[in-house]
């Protein structure tokens, strides 16, 4: 960017938010230029921290006038390189917009600003609304509630309710024109209880990775917080048994959350929980008496009797379906929710890097996909690190192979990149669609979605962002 133009924009931005919240310092630009993934680094030109929708609107209007890219940012912890400014421009760090504006006890929703984190909402509800809870992602507590929903994250109530965008019940959005739009019931009333029965305009923003507008407020569902909880585990000695156990539990509709992990991932994680460096390469191989897969179902109850009955019914269902299965369990352990906020430590302790091909796909092809994905890990001498979460009572499945790695080890980075490329080919063959899609995977998806889908997608982007300033180079339009 021409220095004189940048200086003029910086001057304008300083008038909007104050000079202390605008930076062109090399340290800031460097920090926002990359993330925990191996995605290529790209430097922004300016970092800005607004505090209000009015400031935000002024910034976006200015950026649109100057045709300068704008990249919304909260914690930068997504595993997709989604906040790396591919074409430079303004990183819009939204952490100062962190108000929990409303919690409606009766209608069970919370209205939050972009900077509100999982940790913040957990503490707020525990203090002010202890009978209600939000759901929590397998991620650090600094993760944004809103960004998690925008990128369709999978959380610990996803078995019941699907991905995080499914429980959005209202939006307030600033368009590149500076228009401020409310979506859902809040457009016509004071309450934010649901998107329906309006036309579902939220689809113009959810899942778009900040390429169509900036969300300034979001209403998310919150739920009753049952007083009794436990976790039930099954240890499957092979993937076939794991598949059957999962299918058995799905049909019970009992758990709040149903996840499965490669046993090797748990073993690698043990080092991390002892505050040691964890490493996937060379691969940890399974001992003969060790399980292949660990399945954990999170169960809650309003009474202890209800809880016990649920646990018993789930155990019976698995016993009945998996008569020939090779597994142990059920065993009850303390609720996994107790692990928050350190639940992701096991995959954050390998040297600054974390990568995965994360997907949503059909349960019907889960077994074949997991097997092939794990075999690819064997090929690359990487420990098996499959992580799966059953979504929306089994109507679809979250599936990924967690790949924590040392950013200071170029050979390992290359190994991880090569593995991910092969895993992406695999999942596209088996009907699993990458989520939080890194730009390289977006381009691959665009090759398979069909030309008419692509045309429609680009027309929507063109309509909402004609100057292509919103997080450009990702969904909707390739980079320059």
């Amino acid at each position: 960017m021409i220095e004189a133009v940048k200086n003029k924009i910086v001057d304008e931005l300083e008038k909007v938010v104050g000079s202390e919240f605008v930076s062109t310092n090399q340290a800031d630009l460097y920090i926002y230029s990359y993330d925990l993934t191996p995605a290529e680094s790209h430097w922004p030109d300016i970092v800005v921290l607004p505090q209000s929708p009015e400031e935000l609107r002024a910034i976006i209007t200015l950026a649109n006038k100057e045709k300068m890219p704008v990249i919304p940012y909260v914690a930068g912890g997504n595993v997709g390189g989604l906040t790396i400014p591919l074409e430079g421009g303004i990183v819009l760090d939204l952490k100062r917009m962190n108000r929990i504006i409303e919690v409606n006890e009766t209608d069970m929703y919370a209205v939050v600003e972009p900077g509100v984190t999982f940790g913040q909402i957990k503490a707020y509800l525990e203090k002010n609304h202890p009978t209600l809870r939000y759901t929590y992602a397998f991620s650090p507590s600094s993760t944004g509630v809103m960004t998690n929903a925008l990128v369709q994250g999978l959380d610990n109530l996803s078995f019941r309710y699907g991905d995080a965008s499914h429980w959005v019940s209202g939006l307030e959005v600033i368009l590149t024109t500076g228009e401020l739009i409310k979506i859902g019931s809040c457009a016509a009333s004071k309450t934010w209880q649901a998107i329906v029965p309006f036309p579902e305009l939220d689809g113009l923003f959810l899942g778009w990775q900040g390429t169509t507008g900036v969300i300034t407020k979001m209403a998310v569902s919150i739920w009753p917080n049952p007083p009794h909880n436990t976790a039930v585990t099954f240890m499957a000695m092979d993937l076939e048994s794991a598949d059957e156990i999962l299918k058995a539990i799905i049909r019970t509709r009992i758990p709040d959350d149903l996840i499965g992990t490669s046993f090797a991932l748990n073993k690698v994680g043990m080092a991390a929980y002892a505050h040691e460096k964890a490493s996937l390469h060379p691969a940890l191989h399974r001992e003969p008496d060790e399980p292949e897969f660990v399945i954990t179902a999170e169960v809650t109850g309003n009474t202890e009797n209800e809880l016990n009955a649920k646990v018993e019914a789930m155990g019976e269902a698995v016993k009945e379906r998996c008569k020939d299965g090779n597994y142990t369990g059920p065993d009850t352990i303390p609720s996994t929710t107790a692990a928050f906020p350190m639940q992701a430590l096991g995959v954050l302790s390998s040297g600054g890097g974390l990568m995965w091909v994360g997907t949503y796909g059909p349960m019907s092809r889960w077994l074949e996909t997991v097997k092939k994905g794990c075999e690819l890990q064997d090929k690359y001498d990487i420990s098996r690190t499959c992580y799966t979460r059953i979504m929306n009572e089994g109507h679809f499945v979250g599936l990924r192979w967690m790949l924590p790695y040392d950013k200071g080890d170029p050979a390992l980075v290359q190994r991880i990149n090569d593995l991910c490329a092969e895993q992406l080919d695999l999942v596209l063959e088996t009907g699993y669609i990458p989520y939080k899609t890194p730009v390289w995977a977006v381009r691959r998806l665009e090759e398979v979605v069909g030309p008419d889908w692509l045309k429609l997608h680009r027309r929507v982007k063109e309509m909402l962002d004609p100057n292509n300033i919103m997080n450009p180079g990702r969904w909707g339009k390739p980079g320059k």
């Binding site: 202390e20 090399q26 340290a27 800031d28 940790g119 650090p140 600094s142 991390a272 505050h275 890097g353």
Partner: protein
């Protein structure tokens, strides 16, 4: 520690942000990050800056980068929250960046007075060495440099040269005397502990003072050295271990000693001190000491003082919010320092306490200055000042 020796920790941070808030209660922990809000001010940002410097992407010859490196109070709260394997090396890396800057000649002008004063007068405040013992002039305290004593009281730079804080050492010595302790001081022969020099990157100065401190008190044959300064205490406990001179004496913080004197029934409080107070844990008396953090002795002392009602702030003990004075911030960046202190004062006021009690003169000074700057209505005391009222 220099940056080259810390390379194995440089890639530990994923920038996950867990270090930004207290685990479980999710209240903020990082003064610089919370004041400035840019990622470069948070510990994870500083880890990335270190990576950038080592990889040659960033340069220390940049005033803004230097400002960020020095905008850290060394409170170690980030290390308390982080769970990753590099977690005990976060401030070490920041300190190493400062040492690297000093080594490369990228000096921070704000510290020139301090460094010159150390070289000339053995203190960090630019005061004449001859005035160091003035706080004790009329107290008739033994001169530990001249006559044998069991316990040497080390006042430290802060209380020695700040008349507004003289009540701290005077109270401490009065309490020791009341308990029958054979105590003396070094007066003008006392020197800086070197802790600040270490934190701002002057390793040579630090080593000089560490050696001097150890050799001096070893030669005096004292049983114990007691100090009211938490900075000095943690410097001795944590940093002197790296200096190859074994200590022949025990080092105690005044609050530990006071607690033991009370528990051994050598010191009794007779007067009522009717106050509702909250206790601020100094970082250097807590997190800086790791598993040996001194958290309960000050609370036990306060509970033993008749009339004192002790209430806790939300962030206490291991999770205490910093006073803002540490690691040279009060000298180089008073805005950050006082803002940080005022955040703590607001938290203290929210408990309903009328006074904040601490056990570090750096904290006390900074809180008093923040009261002047921001006008929060709360009294500030060192724990010895409160204890002395009860004699």
């Amino acid at each position: 520690m220099v940056l080259d020796e810390l390379k194995e920790w440089l890639y530990g941070c994923t920038h996950c942000g867990t270090c930004k808030s207290v685990l479980e209660i999710f209240s903020p922990v990082c003064p610089a990050g919370e004041k400035y809000r840019l990622e470069s001010y948070y510990p994870s940002g500083k880890m990335l800056i270190a990576r950038g410097i080592v990889n040659g992407v960033l340069n220390l010859d940049n005033d803004d980068i230097m400002e960020r490196i020095y905008a850290c109070t060394g409170c170690l709260s980030c290390e308390q929250q982080c769970g990753v394997y590099h977690r005990q090396h976060i401030f070490e890396i920041i300190q190493a960046l400062r040492t690297e800057a000093v080594t490369r000649g990228n000096l921070n002008p704000a510290y020139m007075i301090m460094v010159d004063s150390l070289k000339k007068d053995d203190n960090v405040f630019g005061k004449p060495k001859a005035e160091r013992g003035d706080w004790a002039k009329d107290m008739g305290i033994k001169d530990a440099a001249q006559e044998k004593v069991d316990v040497a009281y080390h006042a430290g730079c802060m209380v020695s040269f700040d008349p507004e804080l003289w009540e701290v050492p005077r109270s401490a010595v009065s309490l020791l005397k009341a308990a029958g302790v054979d105590v003396g001081i070094m007066g003008m022969e006392e020197s800086c502990c070197g802790g600040r020099a270490y934190e701002i990157g002057y390793l040579g100065e630090f080593t000089k003072y560490a050696e001097h401190f150890l050799e001096t008190f070893n030669s005096l044959d004292v049983k114990q050295v007691v100090t009211s300064c938490s900075d000095g205490y943690s410097t001795f406990k944590k940093l002197y271990a790296g200096v190859n001179i074994p200590a022949k004496f025990d080092m105690l913080h005044m609050v530990e000693y006071l607690d033991s004197l009370i528990k051994d029934k050598k010191l009794r409080f007779t007067k009522k001190v009717p106050m509702k107070v909250t206790y601020h844990d100094p970082c250097h008396l807590g997190r800086h000491l790791g598993d040996d953090g001194v958290y309960e002795p000050p609370r036990d002392v306060l509970k033993n003082i008749p009339g004192i009602e002790l209430v806790e702030m939300e962030r206490n003990r291991l999770n205490a919010w910093c006073c803002g004075a540490g690691a040279g911030v009060s000298q180089a960046n008073p805005d950050l320092s006082l803002w940080t202190a005022n955040e703590r004062l607001k938290e203290a006021k929210a408990t309903g306490a009328t006074a904040l009690v601490t056990s570090c003169p750096w904290c006390e000074r900074n809180f008093k200055d923040a009261v002047k700057e921001y006008g929060e209505e709360i009294e500030i005391y060192d724990i010895t000042e409160i204890a002395r009222k009860a004699l």
